[in-house]
Symmetry: C2
Subunit: 372 residues, 2 copies
Amino acid sequence: MTADIAKVRVGLDERSYDILIGSGLVARAGAEIVDRLGKVRAMIVTDENVAAAHLEALQASLLHAGIEHATHVLPTGETTKSFAHLEATVEAILAARLERGDIVIAFGGGVIGDLAGFAAGVVRRGMRFVQLPTSLLAQVDSSVGGKTGINSRHGKNLVGVFHQPRLVLADTDVLNTLSEREFRAGYAEVVKYGLIDKPEFFVWLEKNWHQVFSGGDARKQAIAISCQAKADVVGRDEFETGDRALLNLGHTFGHALEAFCAYDSARLVHGEGVAIGMALAHRFSTRLNLASSDDASRVEAHLRAVGLPTCIDEIPGMKPTAEALLTYIMQDKKVSRGALTFILTRGIGQCFIARDVPSSEVLAFLEQSLER
Amino acid sequence: MTADIAKVRVGLDERSYDILIGSGLVARAGAEIVDRLGKVRAMIVTDENVAAAHLEALQASLLHAGIEHATHVLPTGETTKSFAHLEATVEAILAARLERGDIVIAFGGGVIGDLAGFAAGVVRRGMRFVQLPTSLLAQVDSSVGGKTGINSRHGKNLVGVFHQPRLVLADTDVLNTLSEREFRAGYAEVVKYGLIDKPEFFVWLEKNWHQVFSGGDARKQAIAISCQAKADVVGRDEFETGDRALLNLGHTFGHALEAFCAYDSARLVHGEGVAIGMALAHRFSTRLNLASSDDASRVEAHLRAVGLPTCIDEIPGMKPTAEALLTYIMQDKKVSRGALTFILTRGIGQCFIARDVPSSEVLAFLEQSLER
């Protein structure tokens, strides 16, 4: 491994693995896989967009390393996370006669990582799997931690397994082909790690976000710190029975907004929902006299500076009512036995899990937010 | 718990659970569940046959214990282990708004246990699940050990997860409604535990099999010893990376025969395939000068005494060629990287895992067996 590649170790006993972050990792994927996992066979699972831009490079890298492989290309977009595509992917892996020790390579954004990871988790009751995340969101969030899954008609990500990858290769160059909007949306999750418990990282982002957006060393550093932050939380709570809930900062409000927009990405993408959700979580904490309004304003200011939304009324189209949003919040799977759980904060980098938040407080806060 | 209920503990650290074996456990299911798992809500997953015979008793028991529940009834038979029925079961569980701590109750034979366990393993990335096995096969084999799954067009049980139940309730009375043939097929797996490493249990079965078939204490005892035997192996090797392969005694030949019969239960059911497979494994061990031919004859004699088949030519319909059977054996998932793995024996109760068995030896043995 060359010096310009950052490495983050996810410590989960016998399920531990490395995340490599840096330039040119798609081209070096074959060599890294053979080095770490030996002479395996592989199924590449990817989507149409990623295939058009990067598939040849990955296939060449695998061939060069002597990794025999097949490729399964899925449609781009959230609707791919369905039972039908899961079945087709599983059958494609079995048709290629891969064994438990062979690998599934998830080559794409969060949708591909979630679906391919789920498929790898259930073929022969679990085969090895490698993540090559191609979006900023996937590099800093969904490719770390082993959550895989598809959507149900009853909600997003309600069906899946915990299945850890054996290796994650985050190629920072690939992010250059993302749209500005897509990159920004992933950046919301980067900011989240600062806000949860890394105030110094948030300060660093306020100063260096331009460099993170333009690429190079600052981008690699921001991704590495984010992966390390997530790895630390996941290492403490792999199966989400406690601390891991902190990673939901901004997500309870965010998911409700996404659901209200019927997951129409023209109106709102996940990272934008999280940005608004984080701003709301800080303002809600201010209202509950937990945090200063200066901190809430500072969070808002940074999100706005990079071009992320912070208010519900920035979402184009029909405005939700407070009651409608509360209904979506109550339906979210993070509601445990009817009690509302929120990630609240005592200030920048001081988040905590608040259980039993009264729904009346949430409703009053949402009414106030929507009146402004 | 009353004194007439046997209890076997499956020791898997924080995934440990009890198997209760005895009379009247369906009627006491609600009370046992509340005692051990608290006030949960439940989804009963069952099939048409079991529902007709026993569903009312289970529902009454849950109602009496205050367990709110819904029921999902599936068609009877192996084809139920499909992606389509998995999806329908998962959506039914989600429609009932069950949470991670609620339970799925698998109420049926191996098919229902495998499918319902898989569904429980993937809803919200894993919810609690309870097995109420209603066939002898399920009571002594599939309901113990956490293997769940469905079939692929590429083979049986190729898609699934390891997901341990929280409790297994094996009601020995329910077995009275099984056909003689179905009970016998399950009995083949009981014999298997003796042959693997419990010679004294095999001797006991030779003497007491009539009582096991007629019910009462001997039946309960045989089931408890079988569950304990399986629990011991699973406790040593939960994810089948080593010793657990011993449980495949008779299964490599058996699966090949089932596949040759296209899983037509009119010709051959699983337990019958295992009976023939165990007889073949012992004869093959004799041929390889590992075991005495007296031991092989004794195994055959016991299986015949209870009415189980021991020769390939007892299967009605077209006879397979040795080459055809070898092809099926090579396709079995227990073939690791092309090398043939067999469970062979040095005598009754002295099985071991033989890796790298030459396919030429297998072929020659099959040719000889088919000529007789």
